[in-house]
Amino acid sequence: MAKDAIMDFDKALELFEPVLGFEVHVELNTATKMFSAAPNSFGREPNTDLAPVDLGLPGSLPVVNGEAVRYSISLGLALGCSIAPSSRFARKNYFYPDLGKNYQISQYDEPIAFEGEVEVELEDGTVIRVPIERAHMEEDAGKLTHVGGATGRIQGAEYSLVDYNRAGVPLVEIVTKPIFGAEHRAPELGAAYVRTIRDIVLSLGISDARMERGNLRCDANVSLRPRGQEKLGTRTETKNVNSMRSVQRAVRYEIQRQAAILAAGGTITQETRHWHEDTGTTSPGRPKSDADDYRYFPEPDLLPVVPGADLIAELRAALPEPPAARRRRLKEEWGFTDLEFRDVANGGLIAEVEATVAAGASPAAARKWWTGELTRIANAQNREAVDLVSPADVAALQLLVDSGTLTDKLARQVLEGMVAGEGSPQEIVDARGLAVVSDDGPLIAAIDDALAAQPDVLQKIREGKVQAAGAVIGAVMKAMRGQADAARVRELVLERAAE
């Protein structure tokens, strides 16, 4: 495959305005599937979690999952959408072996939620309002594995395996309107938008939102128009970009690729494209054209979805605080600088810091533990900081520091014990004997020894060169194996030297 020419990103932005659009599929974590009583599971033996309708068996009929409808309404409300008093399912007809019925039950001209807006915050704190066109319910398809052939794609494969466990898993597809004005931050907006959707569904508790498992999947639409032109350019749709970083890279790549074509006088083909994580490039999928005729018509096996006003009001009242508003509130409450808060947010640690503060630690201390030592250990162990320790234990550790039981250095040793699963902070302090020695007796003995060993230093202190005491303090701390309060040691050194 010939390598596509790309234009320098800044140059591309000089010549063209990027216009974005995103379609994000969210898999709901309901107990059962969208239209059957089969479990909505992940990672089970292929073709085990199935009901007749998931396989499109003759005579089978779909029945709508009420829990999925409620989740979808909550999501629609969280996206600032209006909820349709009546919405309908439709059949999207196309033949594909991962689709048991050879049609997908989706929503077409009557989605459950429409006309919303989400605030997306970029790294530098800029907020971009992304207009939402609609959010509609549909079912997922099965999963194909292509065996043989070089590409792992259906073309050239020797044979393909189909696992229908995923067939019928409830999805909500969130479709944005065209997004203008992101300019050179368009790639970053892509990642930030997906992160925002992820935050929203996590705060609602309606999806596991694990992109690596496909719980959250993003199709990124990119088009360019020459500066000053009103008419939108031809767009491409890069399918299934499945990490936030990839969304960012794919948008950037498409801007550069399209700019190179347009600047050379070429035209963009309206098509779906595949994202290649390894090369950081996209390649053409199938062209989108009039031949793509899904022959939508209202699903005759299902009645319209008519949520009562009561239900909508109940779900609206139960909505959690919107993630963007929550961030603003917490940043204010914690008194963090922009930079400090972004460290917490970008590390995905807002909930942890919040819980640690709630358990009694100061915001500054909570932030320091989570974005500092715990993040360092997590990176070193290739784990997530949130999986290492509980916020309650972090708060307990900090309380030991605040009460003077532990120095910062000792506290880091206790933390290592906590990560290793040795117990609560207090248990580790007891077991390892790590508490600060607060009895002056042993300290004075150690200081007298140190002074006797360094008569020249004693002389200097007596001559008023107080800074010389550092050498004695160091020796004492070493002798105490760190379990002493250095400030108290300093006081005592000066006292003893004066005698």
Binding site: L57, P58, P62, F95, D290, R295, P300, D301
Partner: protein, 503 residues
């Protein structure tokens, strides 16, 4: 000894519950009858190899004193459109040859629970597309009144099985007349319930918004007894109504003994011209109306100006839904597979569908695919849905003035096998009086009205009632049946020719 196959289901049930006859005896009598005549009739695609065991189980439960339903031990024929776990379900198609379903249709499980004994699966036009059973991939069924003639369709197998005394009861499905038109040409009774009155779960879908499962029998009471067993809400069918239904058997009994016809307002549609009907059909229809009038019914001319567009609208909506419903037959998960060496999955799907579907199925898939295509949707599917609304309004207006509407059940008596097979349009027009009920979702019943004078073949009269008023049809149907059978001096089927030389 009484010939058990000649008894109505109600009479047979009475013998069974009184203990004078066992279910094994009744079942064996019907299996013997099938063995004797089905070579000629070909009503069955599959005969159960364990019906006698099922019957023996019912007999054991009865002697153990178990409480059994009114139809326990009575044999039942099942249209092959309904999936069954113990017998293949093909819907008359080669593409499903030998297909075993992992679940029973709701109506089948309810029939089993009520103690009915499944005898076998009955023949039908492929995927219920047709009015003659000639489109079955397994050969046509023959009309017991004249083996050279069609038994109607798509449920010709169920109607013939009942008419030929191979079964006292059968299950059918009616998308545009597939229960009522076969009843008309075989001198039997068929009911299309209100849409949503009987579960569609396990009925291999033709057109989801039109399909309805219903009873096939020789008497109105028998249909009511079976309807009582299979009807009512089913959580597996989202379009099933949550209504509590009255007993349709009780309604039929009330109609047979009471004075239901006095003051009954019977609507006759002005726009259905006599000219479109075979003279003998019109004559028998008028005679039945006259008999009703003589018992105090009032015949009222009503207008249903949009009925004439019914067939056109139906032949857009049905193929559109069918083209989608039949997409699942692709060889990937079940059913026939035609391998294409070196081919892609699309090649295999195409080759399988080419070999597995008959011409009529392909014709309707093409029609439906076209009707749903971008740019044509509004003109075809959209317009057809508007006609549907207009027909519903015609019904609503008519039912403000009358209690039931009466029509001939079909324009002609049974035509000869092969006569219309190459003229789909003529075949489609055979459904002109039955289609409006499916488009509007209202219930309909066809009962024998008499024999056409020119060919001596059965003619049916159809009654239609407002949605949810199925019980009214059973009352009126049983009343008219009782009047007509009295006037004939016995059931119409007594005049059918003897089959198989056995009796």
């Amino acid at each position: 000894m009484t010939d058990l196959t000649r008894l109505s289901a109600a009479d047979l049930a009475a013998e069974l519950s009184s203990g004078t006859v066992s279910s094994v005896e009744a079942t064996r009598a019907h299996l013997d009858r099938i063995a004797a005549v089905d070579g000629d009739v070909h009503a069955f695609l599959h005969v159960s190899d364990h019906a006698l065991e099922v019957a023996a189980g019912i007999d054991r439960r009865r002697s153990a004193g178990d409480a059994l339903g009114p139809l326990a031990g009575v044999p039942l024929a099942i249209k092959d459109v309904l999936v069954t776990t113990d017998m293949p379900s093909t819907s008359g198609s080669r593409i499903l040859e030998g297909y075993m379903s992992p679940f029973d249709a709701t109506v089948v499980s309810r029939a089993r629970a009520a103690g009915l004994v499944p005898l076998g699966k009955t023949n039908m036009d492929e995927f219920a597309m047709g009015s003659s059973t000639e489109h079955s991939a397994y050969g046509p069924t023959h009309n017991p009144w004249d083996l050279e003639r069609i038994p109607g369709g798509s449920g010709g197998g169920s109607a013939s099985a009942v008419a030929a005394f191979e079964a006292p009861l059968a299950l059918g499905s009616d998308t545009g007349g597939s229960i009522r038109q076969p009843a008309h040409v075989t001198g039997t009774v068929g009911v299309k319930p209100t849409y949503g009155g009987v579960s569609r779960y396990g009925a291999i879908a033709l057109a989801s918004s039109l399909d309805q499962v219903g009873p096939v029998s020789r008497t109105v009471l028998d249909a009511g007894l079976l309807h009582d067993v299979i009807g009512g809400h089913d959580a597996n069918d989202s379009t099933s109504l949550a209504d509590a239904w009255p007993s349709f058997a009780d309604a039929a009994r009330e109609g047979a003994r009471g004075d239901v016809l006095r003051g009954l307002r019977v609507g006759v549609i002005r726009e259905l011209p006599d000219s479109g009907f075979q003279p003998g059909v019109s004559t028998a229809f008028r005679a039945a109306l006259a008999a009703m009038e003589a018992r105090g019914a009032e015949i009222v001319e009503i207008s249903a100006p949009h009925f004439e567009y019914g067939v056109a609208a139906y032949y857009l909506i049905l193929p559109a839904e069918a083209s989608s419903n039949l997409a699942k037959f692709d060889s990937v998960r079940f059913g026939m597979r035609v391998n294409v060496p070196g081919g892609t999955v699309e090649d295999v799907m195409a080759a399988t569908r080419d070999a597995g579907f008959g011409d009529e199925v392909k014709r309707r898939i093409i029609l439906g695919t076209y009707a749903l295509s971008a740019g044509y949707y509004d003109a075809y599917y959209g317009s057809a849905q508007k006609v549907r609304t207009l027909i519903q309004r015609d019904f609503a207006a008519a039912f403000e003035r009358v209690d039931v509407i009466a029509t001939p059940s079909a324009p002609t008596t049974a035509f000869k096998l092969g006569e219309k097979i190459d003229d789909p349009l003529q075949m489609y027009l055979n459904d002109v009086t039955t289609i409006p009920a499916n488009l509007a979702g209202v219930p309909g019943i066809s009962i024998p009205a008499g024999l056409a004078e020119e060919d001596g073949l059965p003619v049916g009269i159809q009654f239609l009632a407002p949605a949810r008023e199925d019980a009214r049809l059973y009352r009126v149907g049983a009343a008219v049946e009782s009047v007509l059978v009295d006037s004939w001096g016995g059931p119409l089927l007594d005049r059918a020719p003897v089959l198989g030389g056995a009796r």
